[in-house]
């Protein structure tokens, strides 16, 4: 084996890894901006709200998820601040009474069943344990849609290799399983699938 073949092998390997880890994700995910901008930071900070003020449980224990427009209306029939984003939100959605078609970062595939009530009320977990520090984000990042599956990139998480993975980065089945295993919570397949 001469030096030249070793070098060309390593160069080829590096090239293919770069293709797979850098180029492929960029091609795979389609970036879609949210229909309106929203600052969690302003709402949890200045306005002093908590997660459950907008992302609430229904009486039957199901989770309402992203709030509807009516949740925003008590404060936002008129602009509360002076930002152009808020002005756009009021002109495009509040005045014509149109629901905002939010793109949900953590939307799971159709065959997944997740009970927020069981995790938050019985398991006493915090929102941040799975969702990360969403409450401190100043703006909504672009929604990254997988062109093949249609799923959000947040299901896989931002780290392509998942090295140094932290809670709140990604919501794959293996992430659920890891947490369940650490806490010795048994579930059959249909415990989380439907």
């Amino acid at each position: 084996m001469n030096l030249r073949s070793v070098f060309s092998f390593l160069a080829g390997l590096a090239g293919m890894l770069a293709l797979g880890w850098l180029v492929f994700p960029a091609v795979l995910y389609e970036r879609i901006p949210q229909p309106a901008q929203f600052s969690h930071q302003v709402h949890t900070g200045e306005a002093g709200m908590s997660c459950s003020d907008c992302h609430a449980f229904r009486d039957d224990g199901s989770f309402a998820g992203i709030p509807r427009l009516e949740t925003c209306l008590p404060c936002h029939t008129e602009p509360a601040g002076e930002t152009p984003q808020e002005k756009h939100f009021i002109e495009a959605f509040v005045t014509p009474h149109r629901e905002v078609p939010w793109l949900v970062y953590s939307r799971q595939p159709d065959n997944v069943r997740f009970s927020h009530a069981r995790h938050v009320k019985v398991g006493e977990m915090a929102c941040e344990d799975c969702h990360g520090a969403v409450g401190e984000s100043a703006r909504l990042k672009d929604f990254q849609r997988n062109r093949i599956s249609g799923y959000s990139r947040d299901i896989w998480g931002p780290r392509m290799l998942r090295i140094g993975w932290k809670p709140g980065e990604g919501m794959k089945m293996s992430d659920c399983e890891d947490c369940h295993r650490q806490r010795s919570v048994v579930a059959g397949c249909l415990g989380c699938h439907k």
Binding site: N111, R113, V122, Q182, V186, G188, L190, H193, K194
Partner: protein, 261 residues
Amino acid sequence: MAAQAKIPTPPPQKQRRYGMVIDLDRCTGCGACMTACAVENNVPSGPPEADERKGINLMRVFTVRERNSRRTAFIPILCMQCGDRTPCETVCPQQAVEVDPLTGIVEQMPQRCLGCRYCMAACPYQARTFNWWDPAWPAGMETTLNPGVAPRMRGVVEKCDLCHSRLHAAEDRAAAEGRRDLNPGEYVPACVEACPTQAIVFGDLADKASEVSRLAAQPESFRWLERLGTGPKVYYRTRRRWVRDLARQGGAAPNQEVTRG
């Protein structure tokens, strides 16, 4: 390791063994359970060529007549939720069948199923059906679908899972009140609820105080093909001697059984 020690371990979950007792003397063969089952579990009606063999029925009501007599019995057959030796779980090459350690429900995962149908051959109760077509509903009917049940695609096997979406909903309601465990009667499959003569009693067989445990222990109660040792959790009961004899024989005595191939 120090960080791992802090992870809270909740108390172990309650072990349940969901099962039912079907009173054959009350069954009128009306088929309400079949309809309720199909509606609950998003079972499409299928194309015109979907016959008894190729159509999807997670629950079927059979008619049994005694030889040389006019006596008739109606027998609803669903997945027997075999608890001791589960034939479909053993043969599945994909691990798409699993007996839930917590509930005892035999679960089928359509996303894992590759459609080899070994489980259908292995099931002594013929309680499994194969999806010969992709599901399709007439226009407008998709609004009536149950959001708690994922539709199954063409090429996979499906079966009764005791209305798992109803178990999920009951668990959600309990969790909203801060309870880990369900109260008896909170979770009831659709067939049990739909039966107009209340022929089906559903509950936790592990709970010795439950109605279903009491009925299952009575001498009028039996299970189909008990000699196979599959340990079904679906019991039947009847005061009619000939139906019980039929069940005990299971078609033929073990030593006279004809096996082919």
